[in-house]
Symmetry: C2
Subunit: 337 residues, 2 copies
């Protein structure tokens, strides 16, 4: 096999078969992997044993650079889609993956990304069971993009969703805000703050699983693109309620805070790749907080605010004055995920 | 909304929400569409009523140009993934879609593609129920790529697969070969043969559905990238059998044959986007042929060869001499699908 990706690696012929078996199948190896057929096949009996609803989601990953402290595009492509399943209460189990590769990409770059996907999936009990590879001529794509779609099953006892939110509910986050966004920003803008900065990219399913046994959970969501601000707006739009968060309660690492002050940006708008925003009944607040803190991924969990009945998303500042928290309309940092 | 796609359309904020509701949700509108949540949710009871196995597949679409006679990237993104489900015997029912858009793309281009996806899906009884949009800066992608992943359920009575193939079985195609590949080649190389040339891009599920009631079907596959040659090799590899096809029996349109002769290429290697290659028990050959011909998508169906026990893929020429049909190793036409 050549040391670079060529157009022949995407043409359905011998070079593509060699790439599939030599790189993808050997890394993703599992009994369900669709190697001989055009589709993976899952016994519904296995799904029925896990719950009563199938969760299905997709995301494309275009992050630049491909590798960053704490992760890479492959790890992100597993975590991001797994988390979009897990926040429904489903255990993420099966992924598809579609690669779009630029002619001339170093084969070892692809191999490193695929290894990272395989390791992340295996560590989370997820199988990558069907896939596709396209190669496009130089210049038609920047290096390497990945799409994953994911499947999981929601237990019959879990009924989480944005419409369950009520005024008086508590708003929690599972840890420090903006780590992923600040890490990418630091790399891309050459800010030089290497020391303490690392993406929080992680599969959140093990943090979420114990929450399925707690009554009073309204909804949860991972705060990726657009950060906590975007999710607060999604919660407000979906529930018809308002959201007020307290600036003083927001967990933000010192380095991330420094980057924000340097550039005049707000960590609330920064992307996270391993943080939950949760809305829970006020009576369940402490039980949820303790459950989150028991897991390493949730040790910095905090109550950050409360659901209101005024339909607005507000940030209450350090001196008690609250202001409207608008959705940003421009794009400070493309290709964050 | 601006007339061009901007980076803000991908940032998780207000412009992205406007794009999602104004373009995607209004076109794909259906009760399952994941608008308020990060994942679509399907009742397993509904799946159980359709069969006993879930089929799951994915493909990315990077075709150039975006619009061509007979279709466009949106129609292709529905047909291609639907067909990869349908060849398992499943009825394709649910799709995810992930868009990667280039900053500066004309909004009306995106709208036309999305409309075409929606029309194709609706016509085939398919719902697009979850999606994702990324926007990347100018030059990081060429205009517009789409990924779709698909779900369908395989009836308990259907057990099609490549390992069922046996020596003596008949090989059939559902219609003329190479129409899609020749159409794209004609456009890209400015060959000027406009008259009779059109992509065969179609959802094949209605052609396949009646075959589920016929005994003796071994396996079917849609012959896309790499054409019939690539599928014959997949069948040979998966079954351990040989495949011999007769040159005289191959249905090829006159215009496509002309392009092949002009460029010294072989229609057997050209991509199709609406053609099946089938292997069936010899005793079922005529029944399958009649079933295919009863549907407009199969009116040019033909028996083209036979499965052998010599493990080789062969083409028997017009004078009875057979030669090995190799998988092409280079790439004559990137971005065909």
């Amino acid at each position: 096999m050549s040391k670079q990706i060529t157009l022949a690696h995407g043409n359905g012929g011998g070079a593509m078969q060699a790439l599939i078996s030599g790189v993808f199948v050997s890394a993703f190896d599992n009994p369900l992997l669709a190697t001989g057929e055009d589709q993976a096949r899952l016994a519904l009996s296995e799904l029925n044993a896990l719950g009563d609803r199938l969760a299905f989601t997709t995301d494309s990953y275009v992050v630049d650079p491909l590798f960053f402290p704490g992760g890479d595009i492959g790890k992100l492509a597993v975590c991001g889609t797994a988390n979009d399943l897990a926040v429904s209460g489903a255990t993420p189990r099966w992924l598809s993956c579609g690669f779009i590769l630029e002619e001339g990409l170093a084969l070892e770059t692809l191999e490193a990304v695929v290894r990272s996907m395989a390791d992340t999936a295996r560590g989370a009990g997820i199988q990558i069971i069907t896939g596709d590879t396209k190669v496009v001529p130089r210049g038609a794509v920047d290096k390497l993009f990945i799409n994953t779609a994911g499947l999981g099953v929601i237990p019959a006892t879990v009924e989480w969703g944005v419409t369950a939110i009520r005024p008086g509910d508590s708003i929690l986050v599972s840890g420090t805000l903006g780590d992923h966004g600040a890490t990418i920003l630091n790399l891309r803008e050459n800010l030089g703050m290497e020391a303490d900065l690392s993406s929080d990219c992680a599969v959140l399913a093990p943090l979420i699983a114990p929450l399925r046994d707690i009554a009073g959970i309204r909804t949860l969501r991972d705060a990726t693109r657009g950060g906590v601000t975007a999710i607060l707006h999604e919660f407000a739009r979906g529930s018809g309620c308002g959201m007020t968060v307290d600036e003083a309660a927001l967990p933000v690492k010192t380095t991330v805070r420094g980057i924000c002050e340097l550039l005049g940006l707000d960590a609330l708008n920064f992307a996270n790749e391993g943080k939950l925003l949760l809305v829970v009944e006020a009576a369940a607040e402490q039980q949820v907080l303790q459950a989150l803190r028991r897991h390493p991924l949730g040790r910095d969990a905090a109550v950050i605010g409360r659901v209101t009945d005024d339909k607005q998303v507000r940030l209450r500042g350090l001196y008690g004055v609250s202001r409207i928290l608008d959705l940003p309309h421009d794009e400070p940092l493309p290709r964050i995920c």
